[in-house]
């Protein structure tokens, strides 16, 4: 089988099935993206309860968890939510949470996290999968 090597132009996204296959719960990872105060507000709320989230640009309704709703409504404009101080995999994961998991290339991601595209490829394009982030193979 030919080895697939992602490049700076290969689109990546969060592969949610990866969490299931590896016995992990993505909601735990999402929960960690919240501030302590936000985590406190979620105490007692089922992690997988689905709410209708209304997109502020299009009016489109998506079924999301309460944690996701908080991230999208309260953290989208927070400059500390995505920064070059965070590990690459963490920053990229957060970008995909905010953009509804729309695929992005390392070049596009690099511009948003303040890193070089080659760093993104080196971190996310190897065998190890971080936070379920994987390249999309055609």
């Amino acid at each position: 089988m030919k080895l697939f090597r992602p490049t700076e132009n290969t689109p990546f996204h969060i592969d949610y099935s990866w969490f299931e296959k590896n016995g992990q719960d993505v909601n735990v990872l999402i929960y960690k993206c919240l501030t302590p105060e936000q985590q406190e507000r979620l105490a007692g709320v089922p992690a997988d309860e689905a709410l209708d989230f209304v997109d502020e640009d299009t009016g489109e309704v998506r079924r999301v968890t309460r944690a996701m709703q908080i991230i999208r409504t309260e953290r989208a404009d927070d400059p500390t939510f995505i920064s070059s101080r965070l590990p690459v995999a963490e920053s990229v994961f957060r970008i995909f949470l905010l953009n509804d998991n729309q695929p992005l290339t390392p070049i596009e991601l690099a511009a948003r996290v303040g890193r070089k595209p080659s760093e993104i490829v080196a971190q996310l394009g190897g065998r190890a999968v971080y936070n379920g982030i994987r390249p999309i193979m055609n």
């Binding site: 689905a50 209708d52 209304v54 299009t58």
Partner: protein, 527 residues
């Protein structure tokens, strides 16, 4: 999720791709037919192009209006029922039908509904409805989406894409029998007035009385008596078309207002190339040196005029008079001359040259076949200009008037190169002659009786190689070293045979009897 990138209706006519791929359809032709019909007179391609662009833009607007007529613009604050058609400005104006309604579930947002929409492309998505909270789409005025203020106007599109649309349109109109091209304008064949042979004979008589012309079409029309119910412009267009198709007439205008001349009354030298200008070519493919190629380009002979090199307009140009032109009373319509003369593709055009010193005007003809300007014989004679004299042309404010002058100086007798015939062959000598103008030292040749050379050309025509062989030793003997400059050779060869510099240099190179000694000087080979 599709984010809102632009909140305007995507219009193809706003893109370059649309205009560069434009194909003129039958509908376009029908529209342009109506456009010209309504105008009642011929239209320039630029006007037709702008009209077509306006038409295409309006067609697109109309299509959008039709598309939107049965659709409501989606706004979250409104309630929608199953079956209702909606259009979504934030999703590039995709449209779809409401196929379901359910209550929304989000305690933070209060009560609202969620509608399921089946899009025309098959996708199914959900949207908020009866949603009174602040939302960008709720605040938007749906009618403003049609607002054309941000769009490029047809005039702006014409500025940007007019050239390529005009090219496509011209090609399409040329292929369409319903349209007829009259000069720079387009008209409908069906609207043309009938111009019969009687009208054309009358036109010939009118021009005959005017010494051949030129007369503008409206002046000729006065005597033709075309039906008065046909508009002036149409009458003019019809007559222009008929005159253009009749070989008796030449269109000789320098501007976009046609003017006509009776061909048989044009000077014979304009209808047919004067004998001294008829050139012979050197056969074969001899390659000449880069140095000689540069010199040939510098000599700028109209025989080697390259149509593919654009002419850069200039205020003035200096030409060197050569013997064939001196004899024919012409100047070469070379690159240098073309930079000052009006640009035209017409076969023959009369215009005026005005002597800067005497202020006298001369009528000259620009003749495209052979690229020469005829009509200067008397002026050359009056000023006693020899071959090799510098002639200066400069533009005037009037489009059909060019200043002409030569480099004047106080006349004095000088030792110069004089050409004669001896025993039917070229003979050069150095003799004293009165010189009243500045000349190119390498190219000047004084000829006491030019008629002798006419006889030489007609009785014993030389090919290029023979002419080089005859001219070279005659030039060489006038120099102590026996050297001959290629420039002088070109000038002297042209006394006996009209030919282009490249042909002279090819014969010089191919002969094997001459060797280059540098700086375009050549010497008789000692082999």
């Amino acid at each position: 999720m599709e984010k809102v990138l632009d909140r305007v209706i995507h219009r193809q006519t706003q893109t370059s791709a649309y205009w560069s791929a434009l194909t003129i359809t039958a509908d376009d032709a029908e529209f342009l037919y109506g456009f010209i019909l309504e105008a009642g007179k011929p239209q320039r391609i630029g006007d037709l192009t702008l009209a077509l662009i306006r038409h295409r833009v309006e067609q697109e607007n109309e299509a959008l209006r039709r598309q939107w007529a049965d659709n409501n613009v989606y706004q979250p604050k409104n309630r929608y029922a199953v079956g209702e058609r909606l259009i979504f400005p934030a999703l590039k104006f995709a449209s779809g039908r409401v196929v379901g309604v359910r209550p929304g579930n989000n305690p933070d947002l209060g009560e609202f509904e969620v509608i399921a929409v089946q899009f025309d492309d098959g996708r199914r998505r959900e949207f908020a409805a009866n949603y009174p909270r602040a939302h960008r789409l709720n605040d938007e005025d749906a009618t403003a989406l049609f607002d054309a203020q941000h769009l490029k106007t047809p005039e702006a599109l014409y500025e940007e894409h007019g050239a390529q649309v005009a090219a496509a349109l011209t090609a399409a109109l040329e292929d369409n029998d319903e349209f007829i091209r009259i000069g720079e304008e387009w008209f409908l064949r069906a609207m043309m007035a009938e111009v019969n042979i009687g009208h054309l004979n009358l036109a010939e008589a009118v021009l005959d009385v005017a010494n051949g012309g030129p007369l503008t079409t409206d002046v000729i029309l006065r005597d033709l008596g075309l039906p008065p119910d046909i508009g002036d412009k149409v009458q003019e267009a019809s007559l222009n078309n008929a005159l253009a198709a009749d070989p008796r007439f030449d269109e000789v205008s320098l501007n976009d207002r046609p003017a006509w001349f009776l061909r048989r009354l044009e000077p014979a030298e304009v209808r047919e190339m004067p004998q001294p200008l008829r050139a012979v070519r050197f056969p074969g493919n001899t390659t000449i040196s880069a140095e000689l190629t540069r010199l040939a380009r510098e000599l700028d002979d109209e025989l080697e005029f390259d149509e593919t090199i654009p002419v850069t307009p200039a205020h003035s140009a200096t030409l060197i008079l050569t013997f064939p032109h001196r004899r024919a009373g012409t100047l070469g319509w070379s690159h240098a001359a073309a930079s000052v003369l009006p640009q035209s593709l017409k076969p023959r055009i009369p215009m005026r040259f005005k002597d800067r010193a005497t202020q006298k005007e001369v009528t000259v003809w620009l003749v495209r076949a052979g690229r020469y300007v005829w009509g200067l014989g008397d002026w050359f004679k009056a000023n006693d200009l020899p071959a090799g004299a510098y002639i200066e042309l400069s533009r005037s404010d009037a489009e059909n008037l060019v200043w002409i002058d030569y480099r004047r100086r106080r006349p004095k007798r000088e030792w110069v190169r004089v050409a004669n015939l001896r025993d039917g062959r070229l003979h050069l000598e150095t003799a004293q002659r009165a010189v009243a103008c500045e000349v190119d030292e390498l190219m000047s040749v004084f000829v006491d009786d030019p008629r002798l050379f006419d006889a030489l050309r007609s009785d014993r025509p030389r090919d290029v190689m023979q002419a080089v062989r005859e001219a070279f030793p005659e030039i060489a003997k006038l120099s102590p070293q026996g050297n001959v400059h290629a420039r002088t050779l070109y000038a002297v060869v042209n006394l006996i045979t009209r030919c282009a510099p490249t042909d002279v240099f090819a014969a010089l190179t191919a002969s094997g009897s001459y060797v280059p000694v540098g700086d375009n000087y050549w010497h008789l080979s000692e082999r």
